[in-house]
Assembly symmetry: C2
Homo-oligomer: 658 residues x 2
């Protein structure tokens, strides 16, 4: 290693970072300045990548879990010569519509492997990526899949609870190709880490089966040694990389350099301290050249891999997996739905989901399932699946443990890695535990499927801590998340098809514990795709019922009751409000009709008003008004007044016949 050159390459990162933050007068200079040396060592000597081909499937993955240090990543991507990265992008740091957002945003530019910023999430993504790699390596062999996952995490990442979930999971799974570099600078926003934490992080990681190595993050040779050692580990590795936050700045080593620009004077002083004489946003030619060389360091390896892939008999399967085509599963689901429609069974939709998964997993070998320790409740395991474990990375069912948040963050990493399609289960009410990761999946627009069972008071005796009432509304408000609550086995199969085909974002399947339906006598066209549709109409309908899931049964019964009194009505099944809202106005008007509307759902009203009052309509809602209660499920529907009678009464009231 040419230490002087290496040092100047690192300083280029520090300088670009402080310059960009200064110009934006907003951002976090401390982390990129402190980690510049370590990152330079990592990128010039250890990570396998080829900047010219950022989507090379067998590249190492790099996750900046401490996403506020985004200028570290942007500097690296620019210096390495990733396509589309120009100095102009760095100059526009944190400006509207620039690819250099305040925190790294997946999809904004080549080389940004995931969106980070909310702390701890990147760690979870990295664990998921390493899981995907281990699995695909087992399936396709070293020739096709053999790469590492590297993450840089800060103290905040390590303090967030999600970190423990994924550390424990990674240690249990012995993900040896995962290396987390902890930017151990001892500083958080409030001041010293010692204000709030005394944890021996190395001992903590070791307790969960990690190898740990310490190094001096300001010493390139020492970092190099640590990274080299990490590559020989038989377990995931934590590198406790001791650094000085804001290295080079006057207030280096304090919270003052964490989250705001250094100021003109501060930048000038740091320039001097770092021996950096270039103007802002100027990188000397020799440094620029050295970085470009680093960026192309992996070109040979990439070409060799392409050759190996071309010669591999697994190339076709591998590439199909990467494409994530689900047509075989969708076809199998259509067959399954047709069979279900003809059989017309009452079934818990969690069981219907299991039946759908049997069809899916039989047709598609790239689904990667799991549950946060509720396998027998979520019905997420199908007979042809083996457990994914350190003894069988070829298995495709993950025992995530009681770690909803870690599961969701790992699933994001799995989806981002590609080659497999993750789904995972827990109780609907515990969506709260994983909400930050669900939000990120929606923001990134990636395909993750959440199988969330026990979807209402219908779960019964476990009581209000386990009964979602606000959860559906709480999930529906997340942009770009599709929430499905199917009403029988046919709709469950359709919802699964929608979720699999939805490559632009995550989907929730909210499923009952108790038996419901059947409500659909026919299958063929996937009617769930339109979000809502007329399930059962009557001539001269005087009101429209709209319901989801277990309440479709109830409004069908209400329709019958009213019909017997000579009051015809229409029943609309609306398994996905999000998709319904995406339909054109004509369709929405046609489905909802111009008569009073009664929506019914065993949840809270929020989110339904828009349906009730759309296009000048009027209507009312039958559902929950607060938390649930412990008692047998059927009795709770009566207790809370979510009954066919209540639905019928509401219609009578609205049409003036009560």
């Amino acid at each position: 290693m040419d230490q002087e050159l290496h040092s100047r390459m690192a300083t280029a990162i520090a300088a670009l970072s402080m310059d960009a933050v200064q110009r934006a007068n907003s951002g976090h200079p401390g982390m990129p300045m402190g980690m510049a040396t370590a990152a330079t060592t990592l990128f010039t000597k250890h990570i396998k990548y080829d900047a010219s081909t950022p989507d090379w499937p067998d590249r190492d993955r790099f996750v900046l879990s401490a996403g506020h240090g985004s200028m570290l990543l942007y500097s690296l991507l620019y210096l390495n010569g990733y396509p589309g990265w120009e100095m102009e992008n760095l100059k526009n740091f944190r400006q509207l519509n620039s690819k250099t957002a305040g925190h790294p945003e997946y999809g904004h530019g080549a080389g940004i492997e995931t969106t980070t910023g909310p702390l701890g999430q990147g760690l979870g993504n990295a664990v998921g990526m390493a899981m995907a790699e281990a699995h695909l390596n087992a399936i396709y062999g070293d020739d096709v899949v053999d790469h590492r996952t590297w993450a840089i995490a800060g103290d905040g990442c390590l303090m967030e609870g999600i970190s423990q979930e994924v550390i424990a999971l990674a240690g249990h799974l012995k993900l040896r190709k995962l290396c987390v570099i902890w930017d151990n600078n001892g500083i958080t926003i409030d001041g010293k880490v010692s204000l709030s934490d005394s944890t021996d992080q190395r001992a903590r990681f070791e307790a969960s089966g990690w190898r740990t190595i310490a190094c001096d993050g300001q010493d390139a040779m020492d970092v190099d040694r640590a990274l080299e050692e990490a590559k020989t580990s038989d377990r995931p590795t934590l590198i406790a990389c001791q650094t000085v936050i804001g290295f080079g700045a006057k207030n280096a080593g304090t919270a003052k350099v964490h989250g705001s620009a250094l100021g003109e004077e501060g930048v000038a002083e740091a320039r001097e301290n770092l021996g950096w004489t270039s103007e802002p946003f100027v990188v000397p030619d020799d440094i620029a050249a050295a970085w470009k060389e680093a960026g192309s360091r992996g070109a040979e390896a990439r070409k060799a891999w392409e050759q190996r892939l071309a010669n591999s008999d697994k190339a076709e399967a591998f590439e199909a997996g990467l494409k994530g085509d689900v047509s075989a599963a969708v076809a199998a689901l259509a067959d399954h739905a047709a069979k279900a429609a003809s059989e017309g069974k009452k079934v818990a939709t969690r069981k219907a989901s299991e039946n759908a998964l049997i069809a899916i997993n039989g047709a598609l070998k790239t689904t990667f399932g799991g549950s946060a320790d509720l396998t027998p409740s979520n019905n997420t395991l199908t007979p042809d699946m083996d457990d994914f474990s350190d003894e069988n990375y070829g298995g495709r069912y993950v025992r995530y443990g009681i770690r909803e948040h870690g599961m969701a963050a790992a699933m994001n990493g799995i989806a981002l890695h590609g080659g497999v399609i993750p789904y995972g289960g827990t109780f609907l009410v515990f969506a709260d535990y994983m909400r930050p990761s669900v939000r990120l999946a929606a923001l990134m627009g990636i395909r993750v499927v959440y199988v969330l069972t026990h979807d209402s008071i219908g779960l019964g005796e476990d009581g209000p801590t386990h009964q979602p009432v606000e959860t559906l509304a709480g999930l529906r408000v997340i942009p770009n998340l599709a929430v499905f609550r199917p009403g029988d086995e046919v709709e469950t199969a359709e919802a699964w098809a929608c979720a699999l085909e939805r490559t632009s974002g995550p989907s929730v399947l909210a499923l009952t514990r108790q038996g419901i339906g059947p409500v659909r006598k026919e299958a063929g066209e996937n009617r769930t795709k339109r979000g809502g549709y007329v399930l059962k109409d009557m001539d001269g309908a005087k009101a429209t019922f709209i319901a989801t899931g277990s309440e479709v049964d109830l409004v069908l019964e209400a329709q019958d009751r009213l019909a017997q009194e000579g009051t015809p009505t229409r029943v609309v099944s609306m398994p996905c409000l999000d998709l319904f809202e995406e339909q054109d106005e004509a369709y929405q008007r046609e489905v909802l009709g111009e008569v009073p509307r009664v929506a019914m759902e065993a949840g809270l009203r929020q989110g339904w008003d828009k349906v009730l009052f759309a296009f000048g309509g009027r209507g009312d809602f039958v559902g929950m008004k607060g938390f649930g209660a412990s008692g047998p499920g059927a009795s709770l529907f009566d207790y809370f007044g979510i009954t066919a009678k209540a639905a019928a009464d509401k219609v009578r009231e609205l049409i003036g016949k009560d």
Copy 2:
């Protein structure tokens, strides 16, 4: 210890638990059966309590973090003779309106210290209780406050990430009177813990500064030894209590006994194995008497404490603290609001909140503040507060670290303990990280105040990961949570007064990063109390604007613009939709008026339709349609069309003048 008697006392718990689960045909027999021996040792020899006086302030606190084992707690409360606990309650386990809900529900019966079930939460509550005790002990001395906190946690509690947050916090704070008994039975729902976890839990806890002790949970003498040792610790203690889940049952030691009734045959077999010959729900007299004696074991200690308190010069202050009276703070806030109204300054509401806190904390010594490492951003620290630390338990500002979830769960414990009123800060968007604990605060109906700053795209450059758009709607849907979004310094003071006076549930203050207002020229009556009110009316108003927080400024400007065109309008400020909805219909109608309504908020629409369409009204919404973006805050309002012009245009459109 009379080991034979002790053993039969323990078996009484096991028998009642399996009988109750069997009768309900629903519930979790495994945990109570496995932990019966350890719990009997704990309750008969170690916990300081007097069943006759369940609210004795200096009692030890007991938290069943593994809440699914509720029959353990119910059995104990019944056997100890807590007021209101009869055999009938156990027979009605999991039935509607019984106090013996599926999971322990705070408020349902004497001796239930907190609501548990969602895993890991109880651990956080216990840490909060121990924090409150340490603080009050420092303030009032050993004579008045000197008690321990005990928690029973399962593998699930320890796997949830929240556990790491509170373990690290408790270790850092050296909470020596906290003891967690880990029901180390090696079983989860999916099967063996080893399916998903290999963590050395003792090493993990030790890494965060805990003492750990192992014991055989089926051996009362060994449990006794461990508990005795725990009481001498200078740190929090984990007892790794090895047990056999479902001890006595045929399938003991397997997942089969975790979560469902044993069946008639299984119960009979367990009876035989345990040597328990009594009929279901019958406890032999000698056992019942021995338990009642245990329940009154602490009576002398309680009386001695009452005497000490009576003699203490701190009695009055202590009792006032327990009552949680906030009138002095509310009066100080009224003065502050009056001053703010007269000064009429533009100010970030996070800064306004700091000013309010200066008034509050000056008047009230029982507030207990903190932040999840965003102190300089949340403005939660006032000059008269010291840090709460192991060197200064008298301090009342908590450095929670980057642990939002742990903070929220600990605040629940602090509020439940009583004597102090907790508030804590983070960014609004990170409410997602603590949502499970917020839900429990709402379910329990306890006073906790969340100071959530950076409440919209107005925070600017940090971008969509940090910009709440769905967060307000997502919080408003939680029953019994009051969400305040004040529009200037006066409303911020009013919101704080509402939050402090709201003893029936938690409150969120959503506060801006950027300067806004002033919108209120007068203070006096707390207008925020009604949720929404007419801020500025005009004769013959043709439309009603409704806004919160930073958008009140914008609709006032829109009102001006329209007035200049000869279109009078009304502006309603609605800092709390929840409280507005609680007002009588006449008031709501009066405020909203009968003209078209335009609501404006820099968030998503969900939740606003109800306001727009209430009482047959019509209207529209100006706000966000999806995630935010990174850029300077002011530019984002223009970019997303959240402007005075857009609000005015919407009125023109609605009244047919566009």
